[in-house]
C-alpha cells in the first residue's frame, strides 16, 4: 500500500489486489522518521484512477455491445501484471488518531512522508489494546472480520444514552438482548418496554429449557400479572396519565385533582369510589363527561385494581433485581395504544420515584420503538432529567427518524446495523460522536447481523462486528404464512 493523498482528515491510499483491505478495516500509516503513526479507517474502496483503463475496457466492447472474443498469446505472462495494475484500488480512509510513543491523540494535523511511510493493516485486537477498549466488566459483542472478538466494557454503557438502529430483520433486538443479559449478569437492573413480547423468553434457552438468567427475568404483562392500585399511585403519576396519555383538558384535570385529594383524605382512594364520585359529581356536564370517559378508559385497561395483593409485582420485581440484578420485561404486546401509554407513564413515574428515594441505584431502560408509547415531552426528560435520577436509556428502532434529533446529538453510543435508505443514514449521521462519511459509507454495506459500533464503548474507533449468537429462545421472528414448519 502507498500513501497517495491527504485532504483534511481523509487519507487516500493506493492498494494492490494482493493487499486486501475492506471498508471498516484499520490501517497504521507509520512514519519512522517522524516517530509517529496515523491510525486511519477505510471508509470506502474505489478503483484507482489508473491511466488507460478506459481504453482497455472500451476496446473489448466494439462489436455491437457484445464483448469482443479472442485469445491472447502472452508467452511472457504480462496479463497478470495488467490485471494487477488495473485492479488497483484507492482506499478512502478517515484518520481516527495519531499514535506517538504508544499514546493515542485525536490529532490529524501532521503529514506523514508519502515515500517513506509504511502502511499496514491494524488488527482489531491491536487497535483495542492501543485504544484501551477493555475493562473489568467485559461484554463480548461478537467477532470482527479478522476473527478476533469485539469486547466492550459494561461500564461504558453505564450512565450513557444508547441507540440501536438498523433496518428490519438485521439483528437489533438480538443485540439488545445480548446487552441486557450481560448487564443482568453484572447485577444491573434492566427495564424493557417490550412492544412485541419478544423479550419474555430471555430466561429460556433455544431448546426451551431454563437458562442461567431464568430467575432474574421478570415478565410483567399489564392487566394480567401487572396491575396497580390507585392507593399506590402518586397524584402526579395519575395526572401524567390523564393529561398526557388520555388528553384530559385543564378544567377537568383541576376537578380530578380535587376529587383525588378528597378521596385520599377519606381513605377511599380506589377505582370503585373514584367511579362513584365522578358519576355523582355536581358540576358542568362537559367536565363530568370528560372525567367519566377517562375513568372508563382507566377501568377498561384492566391495569388498575382495588386489590392491593394483586398490585405488587413491579415493586417486588424491582426489589428482587436490586441486589442480584434482573430484567423487568414490561410486555406491551396485545396492549392498545392508550393502554400502552398508561402503562409506560406509570412505569416511568414509578422508576423516577424509586430512584429519587434511592430505593434503586440506577436502571438500564431498553425502549423498543419508543415513539409508539412515549409522549413527546418525555424524550428530553429521559435524556436529561431522568439520566440524573439514574435511568440510562437504550432506544431500539428501525425508523431512525422517529427519534428526535436532540437524542442523536446526545447519544453516547450507537450500534448501527444496515440501512440502505439515504434518508435514514442522514438522520443517524446527526449524532455528535459520528462522522457522516463513516455512517453513510460503512452502514450502507453492512451484511445482516453485522453492527457498526460507534461512540464511547469503542473509544470513538468505529468497529464492525458480527453480533454473536445467544442461547436464548427467539421470540422476535416475524410470523410467516409460507412457512414449512
Amino acid at each position: 500500500m502507498k500513501l497517495y493523498k491527504k485532504e483534511g482528515n481523509i487519507l487516500q491510499v493506493i492498494s494492490f489486489p494482493t493487499e486486501s483491505a475492506e471498508k471498516g478495516d484499520y490501517l497504521l500509516v507509520e512514519d519512522q522518521d517522524a516517530g509517529k503513526a496515523l491510525i486511519a479507517q477505510v471508509i470506502d474502496v474505489q478503483f484507482a484512477a489508473v491511466p488507460g483503463v478506459l481504453e482497455e475496457l472500451l476496446r473489448t466492447l466494439p462489436d455491437g455491445g457484445e464483448p469482443l472474443q479472442g485469445e491472447d498469446i502472452d508467452p511472457m505472462e504480462i496479463a497478470p501484471h495488467i490485471t494487477y495494475i488495473q485492479d488497483a484500488s484507492l482506499l478512502i480512509c478517515k484518520i481516527r488518531a495519531t499514535l506517538e510513543n504508544g499514546v493515542l491523540s485525536p490529532s490529524s494535523s501532521w503529514l506523514p512522508s508519502r515515500s517513506q511511510s509504511t502502511i499496514k493493516k491494524l488488527s482489531v485486537p491491536m487497535l483495542m489494546k492501543l485504544a484501551k477498549i477493555d475493562g473489568k466488566l467485559p461484554i463480548i459483542l461478537g467477532g470482527t472480520k479478522d476473527s478476533s472478538l469485539l469486547t466492550i466494557d459494561a461500564s461504558a454503557i453505564d450512565g450513557t444514552l444508547n441507540i440501536i438502529t438498523g433496518k428490519k430483520g438485521c439483528g437489533k433486538s438480538h443485540l439488545s438482548k445480548l446487552l441486557m443479559v450481560n448487564l443482568v449478569g453484572y447485577k444491573a437492573t434492566v427495564v424493557i418496554f417490550d412492544l412485541n413480547g419478544e423479550y419474555t423468553s430471555l430466561g429460556m434457552s433455544n431448546d426451551g429449557k431454563r437458562n442461567m438468567y431464568y430467575d432474574k427475568i421478570h415478565t410483567l404483562t399489564p392487566g394480567q400479572n401487572f396491575k396497580v392500585a390507585l392507593e399506590q399511585l402518586h397524584l402526579n403519576t395519575v395526572m401524567g396519565i390523564l393529561v398526557n396519555a388520555l388528553h384530559l383538558p385543564g378544567t377537568s384535570a383541576r376537578e380530578f385533582r380535587r376529587i383525588w385529594k378528597m378521596l385520599k383524605e377519606k381513605g377511599k382512594l380506589n377505582m370503585q369510589e373514584l367511579g362513584e364520585e365522578i358519576r355523582n359529581l355536581n358540576c358542568n356536564q362537559h367536565v363530568r363527561d370528560a372525567l367519566a370517559s377517562r375513568f372508563n378508559s382507566l377501568a377498561n385497561s384492566g391495569f388498575f385494581t382495588d386489590s392491593l395483593g394483586e398490585a405488587t409485582m413491579l415493586d417486588e420485581s424491582l426489589i428482587k433485581s436490586k441486589d442480584q440484578g434482573g430484567a423487568i420485561v414490561i410486555n406491551l404486546k396485545n396492549t392498545s395504544n392508550i393502554d400502552r401509554q398508561i402503562v409506560v407513564e406509570y412505569a416511568l413515574g414509578k422508576l423516577v420515584d424509586s430512584l429519587s428515594n434511592w430505593k434503586l441505584k440506577a436502571v438500564f431502560l431498553f425502549a423498543e420503538e419508543a415513539h409508539l408509547y412515549l409522549r413527546e415531552t418525555y424524550w428530553d426528560d429521559i435524556v436529561t432529567r431522568m439520566r440524573h435520577f439514574g435511568i440510562f436509556t437504550t432506544f431500539i428502532t428501525n425508523q431512525p427518524d422517529t427519534i428526535q434529533e436532540t437524542i442523536y446529538r446526545q447519544a453516547d453510543n450507537i450500534f448501527l446495523f444496515n440501512f440502505t435508505n439515504e434518508h435514514d443514514l442522514d438522520v443517524v449521521s446527526r449524532a455528535a460522536r459520528v462522522d457522516s462519511e463513516t455512517v453513510r459509507s460503512i452502514a450502507h454495506d453492512l451484511p445482516p447481523h453485522h453492527c457498526l459500533t460507534l461512540g464511547k464503548v469503542v473509544s470513538d474507533f468505529p468497529i464492525v462486528a458480527r453480533v454473536r449468537a445467544l442461547d436464548i429462545k427467539t421470540m422476535g421472528e416475524t410470523r410467516l404464512f409460507f412457512n414449512n414448519n
Binding site: V50, P51, G52, V53, E55, E56, R59, P62, D63, E66, L68, Q69, G70, E71, D72, I73, D74, P75, M76, I78, H81, I82, Y84, I85, Q86
Partner: protein
Amino acid sequence: MVIEQYTITNKYNFPQPTIDTALPQRFLEQSLYSLRHVQHQAFQLNPQNLHQPTLTEQYPSSIQLKPEPIQIKADNQETLIAAIDTSTIKIGETSTGIIVAIRGAITWRQNHSYKYTRLGPFIFHITEDNKNTVYNTLEHAYFSTTYSSMHQSAPNLMQMPTRLASLLERWMQTMVAKTVKEGIILFDGSLTSGTIDTPTQRLREILSYARRNCSTVLAFSKATTLRANGILITEQLPDHEPPYLLETSGLHSKPPILLLGDVYVARLNRANFAFRLDIDKETNADQRICAMQKLVGNDLYMQSYPETLRLSHILCTFTANEVLAIKHFITRKHGIEIVNRPDMHRLLFGPFGKGEIYS
C-alpha cells in the same frame, strides 16, 4: 546460454496447415535473453508510442487520378475478412539502451462477429551490444533459408523497435496468407517493397501465399503523401455516391523500391474520408473489384476504414495501463529499478521547457 522454457501454443482458429512458430519462439527467447542483461540496472520510465514510419513515397510525380470512379456494389456472400497490425512502444531507457515492447494482433470477421488473436507483448532490452544478436537471430529464425545472413548489420538503436515490429508483422501476415482461404486480407500500410523493413522477395512471397489460397490482399494506408496535380490523391473526391474506388496511373517507383500493388483511392461511405489502397498487382481486375465488393458487403466501415483493420490496430496498441503493467513486470521479474532522472528541458527552461517530445 540457458533459455527459460516458455512455449507458444497454437491457438489460431483458422485452418492450421503448418504453422511455423519459430519466430515467436525466437522473439520470446531473445526477449528473455535481452532482459537478462539488464537485471539490477536502473531505468528511466519514458513511455513513447513508436509509429512504424510511413514510407516516404518518393515516386515520380506523374501520378494521375482517373476521373471516373469504379462503383463498388456490396456483395454479402459470406467471406472471411482478416487484418493484421503490430505496435511497439518504448517503455524507458537504461544507461546502456532502451526497453521496448512489441505486440501484434490478427482480427477477423466471420459469421457477423469479430474475433482476434493477439501475440505478445514481447519486451526487449536493446543495447548497442546486443542489437545485432537480437535482430539477426530473429531474422534468421523466420527468413533463414532465403534472405538473411547471420552477420548482416542491424538497424541503429532507435530504429530497432519498429524493425522488430515489422519482423513480427510480416511473420503474422505470412501466417494469415498461408491459412486464410478465399478471403480478404487487410494490411496496414502499402504494398511498397524494397525497403530495409520490407524486402521485395519477402512481400512477394506473402502475396503469393495469399493468391495460392485464392485470397486477396488489400493494403490500406492511413496517410499518404501522393499528390496528383499538387493535391493529395485522397482529397480529390468526385461528387459520386460511395462506395467507390479511384484508379491511379503513372505511378513509377525508383529502384530498389518496387510497388507490388496498384494504387487506388478508396472511399467506402459518405464520411468525407478516403484512403490510399494498394491491391496486389498480380490479381486481375475482376478479382480486385470482387474483393472490394466482398469487403464492403461483409465488414463495417464507419469512417470509410474497414472495422477489422481498425480493431487490429486498437487491439495491439499499448495503453497507459499496460505500460504500467510492463514496468511492474520488469521491476518484479527482472529487478530493474526505476530512476527519475531530471528532465533537462524542465530543469534548464522551467515552464518554457516542454520536454523532449516537443523539442
